[in-house]
Symmetry: C2
Subunit: 210 residues, 2 copies
DNA sequence: TGTATACGTCTACACTGTATACGCGTGAGT
DNA sequence: ACTCACGCGTATACAGTGTAGACGTATACA
């Protein structure tokens, strides 16, 4: 019932994708739907709930259709990681929102369950599974949010310029690593390496003590 | 010169801490400083720059006074992690903002340098140091942001209620882990365990291939 | 003395989310 | 067939937002 709500959410998604989340106002959204701003409140209680609905809709598209049946746990986890990052690149506005609300929608719970079963299959002790799920998802969402919001970018200053602002010798680390810092780096391979390390971490927790 | 800017930033910090970041408006800030809203623009070009200045000020208070001299690299890293989390707990509004801008201020660069030198000392190959720095800081900030914004909370539904919304058997992971999910969990010890795992990961990268 | 510069005020504009009150059509119940 | 409720949309209005532009004034230096 009430496919109108979905229509509204889709319109909001379209605005966010085209002009950024900042342009999603009740007035702009209403105009896009072809209706008065106040009419939206019949289908959405709040602007906050509207935003929640938007990320919910994205999460729904995140689930692998076949749940990755037949593939190993580490392949399923990696695929999920790539899916999240891909989503964040397509919808840069969404990453930040993922941090703001717990995973309460049915789709979000399903995603969490995928991670749970993968970790169990990896041999992680039951007691540690929820914690590791939070560790992994926190990193993946954090990476996506950082990428989307420019935290990984150099800002207006390039690395050399940034270092130059401080007295020589106060940044021994930067000094030593200078050759690597000036290189342009590729976020694709970086994310891959990060996931690799995290999978290794999971194996360590699985195979380690008790 | 111009200690007025610092005065303004401090006033903004005070408002954010007392009433939340949402109450930091140019008008409210101006009133607190005892001045007209437009007067603020003599010391701050934007509201965005104001917010940047606020997190910059927090980062300045993050540096260990002695830079942790004499302590092992893993102690220094852990101390930094705890410091970030502590900051996020004292100023819940700040965590989200940390994601939005690259670390360009001198203080931020200094913090990054601390991590660099710790990783180098741990034996991480130079080439991998910047990546691992981003991995660690992304997780730590992500954890802090999640905690501050309620992502780790249960929301309005408790875990049992959340599961109940979906047909039985569709959440095998939740089913198996039910005993652990219903337990209240302690974020202090969780963060500790996470840092432990990350330090182990660093050692693995340091001691591993090439 | 003149002038530049730092600092502040006042007014105004274009927005924002949303409370409140009202109107209109449709479908169910008596 | 008459009423009533309800879903859905509209109109108006209010309090709040960031900030552009024009205008003052006081201090410092030529």
């Amino acid at each position: 019932m009430s496919g109108r709500r979905e229509e509204i959410l889709d319109a909001a998604l379209a605005i966010a994708d085209e002009h950024g989340i900042g342009k999603v106002s009740m007035r702009a959204l209403a105009e896009r739907v072809g209706v008065t701003p106040m009419a939206l409140y019949r289908h959405v209680s709040d602007k906050a709930e509207l935003l929640d609905g938007m990320v919910g809709r994205l999460l729904a598209g995140l689930l692998p259709p076949d749940a990755g049946k037949g593939r190993a746990w580490h392949e399923r986890l990696a695929a999920l990681g790539y899916a999240v990052r891909g989503m964040a690149r397509r919808h840069p506005w969404a990453a930040q929102l993922l941090f703001s609300r717990p995973a309460v929608t049915p789709d979000a719970v399903r995603v969490v369950d995928l991670i749970y079963t993968a970790l169990v299959e990896a041999g992680v002790p039951d007691r540690e599974v929820p914690r590791l799920e939070r560790l992994i998802s926190t990193f993946v969402i954090g990476f996506a949010a950082s990428e989307a919001s420019g935290r990984f970018g150099t800002g207006s200053l390039d690395p050399r310029g940034r270092r130059g602002r401080l007295p020589e010798g106060e940044l021994p680390g930067h000094g030593r690593l200078a050759p690597w810092l000036d290189l342009p780096w590729d976020l694709d391979t970086e994310f891959e390496a990060d996931l690799d390390d995290l999978l290794r971490l999971i194996k360590a927790v699985a195979g380690g003590r008790d």
